[in-house]
Symmetry: C3
Subunit: 290 residues, 3 copies
């Protein structure tokens, strides 16, 4: 209930808005894994379930787990396809964990940002067919995960939203978030979307091409499985070379600017003015939880 | 009446077509300013009104005034948003003034072109939120001004048209006009549009994304004000960094080729064959005015 | 009848599918020309008819003929526009001739690929207005020819399909096929299209912008002629400079990587695994013909 009220308290126009950009992760030291992977050896398709309540925030720990799991599947010759989804009821992922950016040391901040980069590099450049089964809201980092995949299927619930809404919080999506969005929805839509920090309802997201298909909530996963079969009918090597041809330039741009991008992020996020914004935002989140 | 008949004489398919590309400015030495600026200090929004009859031609003098006003607003910390509109009844701007290109010295021609560059550089790279309130036809240079803004609201009058129609006159939109158009409507639509020198009616312009919204003529300005509020809700610094990220590459391309672009324009426009085309066009305009 | 049965045997969902990517050309040594050109000196418009049954496969001989004819027209000052069409009843062109790639020497293979490059370079960079009158299916190389033109009119028959379906055969469209497709339909649609090797029915092709217009089969050529008149109303020099501005970068990319692209193709296509795929495909085609 605490989770839901947090979520609903942020809703605009009736949408489930999971804290416009970042989420406030309740700290717990439980050993329950944040990520669960089911690999069906008969089909070669893995389902990666994000199960870190309340909102699958992308903390350093979460991202590390995510990358380890992705790496394992990437190395596993028997795995050809990956479906990314959430076990939570209304959220795919609320994006980057604000606690990794508020009041933390520059070192930790840099380590965190490197993990965000790593997640995107692994996902956008994966040799596997990657399908996002977006069964809930997916702002900011959650949107980045989605557009890092090959195909996006979203629950047709107009209360779920998706988008790179960073500017609404006074922060900025870096160039590789931007490049990925431009590659997906084109330059002009990306410009409008990023400058206004727009969150799109599922139907709006379909209209601008931010997601590829809407289906009823209970069919998101099965549709992802069906779609995967279609993709796996294409010989892997031909599809992989083609995917690399489409994405290599965008990936290389981050690879050759990785350190500068980290420095840039750390110096921006540790600014007094930005830290003040984050504190106010955190206090707002906390007051709403009470 | 002289103005209107000039305009109507060019109409195709019933559209107000303000001389396909350039306009014949009646010379006057009146001291009435070509541009008027109202800055509302309570909102931080300036309205820049182009009021140079008959058709807001972009002469060297007009462009100089325009740039001075833009520079002033850019420097004014209290000004966060700019709405660009026209006081004329059926024309936003008819584009570059043909008299600046016909029979003038290469020096003057170069000075003129530098002013066109300056106008675009200032507008496309402005830190302010810029909204074009397009309350009339807007061919060629008028279209360039519009796509230099962040957002375009046009009167829903199918007789008003907008587009980069240079090729119809036998001249060529330079690479930075092209880049701005590609950034706005995508590569293929820009290709078709530029090669055919197409003018789009307001509804067609909306369909291809050349403008963002159509409203009744008498609501163009108020809708621009409402839209501006939405944009100003985004923290300036985050929006500005994002805008720069989207547009810097396009702007840098002109900045690093500015002299060559001027040389190129002057040598093209002073060609005998092009001057002949311009003379015929001028004579046609004059005969229509009689 | 042999031709039709070959074609129908490949149909999926009732579409005429002319061997997903390559075609099996029946060898003949007839001296009947594979290409016929009619130049109307009164209009300056040439119609180039591909008439190489059964499916206008792009063999080295065909491509050489094609380039010679294109070069002649390009040099002919009286020719301003080119309409590309097929005399066959259900096929525009089935694409690259598989026999040029199966069991041939690396030298011959390289010569063939150079001819494919030459065809595209000449077409995409032509100074003429080029219109594809697509009166039948047009997979792979046939699609490349189409998107190399300035404008595409297709017969509105849902059984005709068009697309770069190379991955379906386990081979890969090279970067300049990809660049041309991205320029035409945008990055995301190109990505989906290439990775899945999608063939689009005529109505689907219109929807994604792969073709510009659909008309009834018997009006394809006349509509192309009407459209040509509209394009020829634009002064040639202005249109040509504009076209070059839009396409030069894409063309230069191949020009500066031409040898590497040939080496790359030859080493890929002569791989044992790829040759095995081609053999199986050929055997399938042969068995269907019996």
């Amino acid at each position: 209930a605490g989770v839901l009220s947090q979520l609903s308290s942020h809703s605009r126009n009736g949408r489930v808005c999971v804290s416009p950009c970042f989420s406030l992760q309740r700290r717990n030291n439980s050993t329950s894994p944040k990520i669960k992977v089911d690999l069906d050896s008969s089909t070669g398709v893995a389902v990666l379930m994000m199960q870190s309540p309340p909102v699958n925030s992308l903390s350093l720990e979460f991202l590390t787990d995510f990358c380890i799991n992705l790496e394992k599947l990437e190395m596993d010759k028997s795995c050809r396809g990956l479906i990314l989804t959430s076990t939570l009821s209304k959220v795919f992922s609320a994006g980057l964990d604000i606690m990794e950016m508020y009041g933390t040391s520059p070192e930790r901040c840099g380590e965190f940002w490197k993990a965000v980069q790593e997640m995107w590099l692994k996902l956008y450049g994966s040799n596997m067919v990657t399908i996002a089964a977006i069964n809930g809201s997916s702002p900011a980092g959650g949107c980045l995960m989605s557009i890092g995949c090959d195909y996006r299927i979203m629950a047709d619930n107009p209360r779920y939203s998706i988008g790179l809404n960073e500017t609404q919080l006074g922060i900025v999506a870096p160039f590789w978030f931007k490049d990925t969005l431009v590659n997906t929805v084109g330059n002009r839509t990306a410009e409008l979307s990023l400058e206004l920090g727009q969150l799109y309802s599922a139907p709006e997201a379909l209209k601008i091409g931010l997601v590829d298909r809407l289906v009823p909530q209970d069919q998101v996963l099965s549709t992802a499985q069906d779609t995967m079969s279609k993709w796996l009918a294409i010989p892997d090597h031909a599809r992989q070379i083609t995917k690399s041809m489409m994405r290599k330039q965008t990936i290389d741009k981050l690879l050759s600017n990785r350190e500068a991008d980290i420095t840039n992020f750390v110096s921006f996020i540790t600014k007094d003015s930005i830290q003040r914004s984050l504190r106010m935002y955190l206090e707002m989140l906390k007051s709403r939880k009470v």
